[in-house]
Amino acid sequence: MKQTGENYEEISTEDLKRLSKQAEKEAAPSAGRIIWNEFKADRPALIALVIVVAFILFVVIASLFINTSKMMETNILDYFDAPFKDGFLLGADAGGRSIAQQLIVGSRNSIGIALGLTVISSTFGIAWGLISGYFGGFVDWGMQRVYDFMMMLPMTMMIIVIVTIINNYNAVTLTLIFSCFYWLGTSRLIRSRTLAESKKDYVAASITSGTNPWKIIFREVMPNISSLIIVDTTLSFAENIGVETGLSYLGFGLPAQTPSLGTLIANANDPNNITEYWWTWFPAALEIIILCLAISYIGQVARRAADSSQRKSNK
């Protein structure tokens, strides 16, 4: 390269700055930029985004001011207090514990686990899909057999069995156990996209010029499918909220003394509670529904942004 370089005239630094600025302007906007434009074009999506972010912030900050062990103390005088009675905003449960406080701490726990699960399982799934799709051949075959096998496992049952075997588990181990099973969907999606992507010219050019395959995978292919990754991560976050809450609902998730949205809904298992003391479980159910709808609506908008023919901001 050096020998040929002498044939060109030197470019002054000012010109270089001007040229790179011009190139930046003309280049296609980044994935984050496109998604942000799409949100600005779609008012309900922006509202959903603000609601979700504000709600998560509120729950995290408010739960700092709640003394969890004091909150979980039984107080028989407040047995099934109705909402707005004795200063309970959302009433109390069978142990006289405030539903509103449990809802805040429970939301923090449930959302936290869902977030952790999304981060761990998506990272793993993305790496798995990229490697499997990029290398192809024997590597891909082997990794796909592992994938097929994992798909066969009765997931919910396996998780419940593992949770019963491990005696001392907490939120972190629970998240890790879930992560072992919930990376499958992401990996399949990323793999099929990587398969198509790695046939493109820029990858072939990179291979010819001798770039390290890992560099091609994570520095070249991955940024090119980043919009897909953002969409998939958002949508799986919405799904993952149902994972922990579902198991906690059955009684195999978080331990009984740790409130979760699932354990709150489990109050509905008692035929008396479900009709007479509806406030013990209904707010949690409503919250899950609203949260899941809002997050996956955000995901839908991100998906629309990823597909240039569907964008609203273009019109």
């Binding site: 057999r145 097929d148 066969m152 496992l153 949508l235 149902g242 009709t275 996956s296």
Partner: protein
């Protein structure tokens, strides 16, 4: 095509072996052993040790695994501690209930999803399509157990239209009354499962129809003057029916996973509820048998779907 099916079945064998090893090791990892519970003044610790030795519980794990597999092939899955009955009999009784409920749900799902998918594909981009897509989006992202709880609350308790526990009412006498009562108990969980399980079929069928609309055979049929309704009914629907039918195998996996929630909420005595109860009672023989059974059912469900798909769609056949 036979090659594909053969390869597919060959891949299945190591899958089943690995599954059985994992299930066996999980069962070993569970606390407790089959004899400690029977310690009494006459049978002391020494005798328990003797029993453990005679029954091969001190053998290395691969030998124990081998014994377990041999028992498995003789149809011997051990005895349940909770019911003191052979596991096969207990699961047999519950399996019938789960089977009927799953079958009912699948049939209902197809009845709802097929017209929806075709309608959405036919009116692509118009109002009905938007409504159906909104419906699939809503049903897809809400966790299923929340829907079940809300459903049993509104239709079971508040309105009182449907029973809230069991699979048959104890007062039902005679064959017809029993069948009617069984059906009545399946109705609400079945409808909820079907209404909220249509996403995959609707989306697949919709995109099939959208693709078919611009394909050559449809254009030829229209040029010949075939009425548009007939094209949809006979040409497009026929073409997309088989791949859709293949989804039935995959949906077994989903339904079995969902059965744990459905049966818990509705106290419906099937295999899912049996599993949850066995976990609470630490009834390990039943748990092991159920995990193995569900795994094998999943494997066969997927096998079925893969075979149907490979017959229908030559592109999928393994090289």
């Amino acid at each position: 095509m036979w090659k594909t099916i053969l390869r597919r079945i060959l891949i299945m064998i190591p899958e089943i072996i690995i599954l059985s090893i994992i299930v066996f090791l999980l069962a070993k990892a569970m606390p407790g052993d089959p004899f400690t519970g029977s310690i009494n003044p006459r049978a002391g610790v020494a005798q328990i040790h003797h029993l453990m030795e005679v029954n091969g519980l001190y053998d290395p794990w691969y030998q124990q695994y081998w014994n377990w597999v041999v028992h498995l092939f003789h149809g011997n899955l051990g005895e349940s501690y909770q019911y003191n009955e052979p596991v096969t009999r207990i699961i047999g009784q519950r399996a019938v209930n789960t089977l009927w409920l799953s079958l009912f749900t699948v049939v209902l799902t197809y009845l709802i999803a097929l017209p929806m998918g075709i309608y959405a594909g036919r009116h692509e981009g118009k109002l009905p399509d938007t409504v159906i897509r909104f419906y699939t989006y809503v049903t897809y992202c809400i966790p299923f157990f929340v829907i079940l709880v809300l459903g049993i609350w509104i239709f079971g308790y508040v309105l009182g239209w449907f029973p809230t526990t069991g699979s048959v009412s104890p007062t039902a006498n005679g064959t017809f009354a029993t069948i009617g009562s069984r059906f009545y108990h399946m109705l609400l969980p079945g409808i909820l499962g079907a209404l909220f399980g249509t996403v995959n079929i609707v989306q697949y069928l919709r995109s099939e129809v959208v693709d078919a609309k611009s394909s050559d055979y449809v254009r030829t049929a229209r040029a010949k003057g075939v009425p548009i309704n007939d094209i949809y009914r006979h040409h497009i629907f026929r073409n997309s029916l088989l791949p859709i039918a293949a989804f039935a195998g995959y949906s077994i996996t989903g339904l079995l996973n969902g059965a744990i929630f459905t049966e818990s909420v509705f106290s419906y005595p099937g295999m899912g509820l049996l599993f949850v109860n066995s976990i609470s009672y630490r009834d390990y023989t039943v748990i092991t048998a159920l995990v193995l059974l569900f795994g094998i059912l999943n494997i066969f469900g997927t096998l079925l779907s893969d075979i149907i798909l490979s017959i229908v769609d030559p592109r999928i056949r393994i090289e």
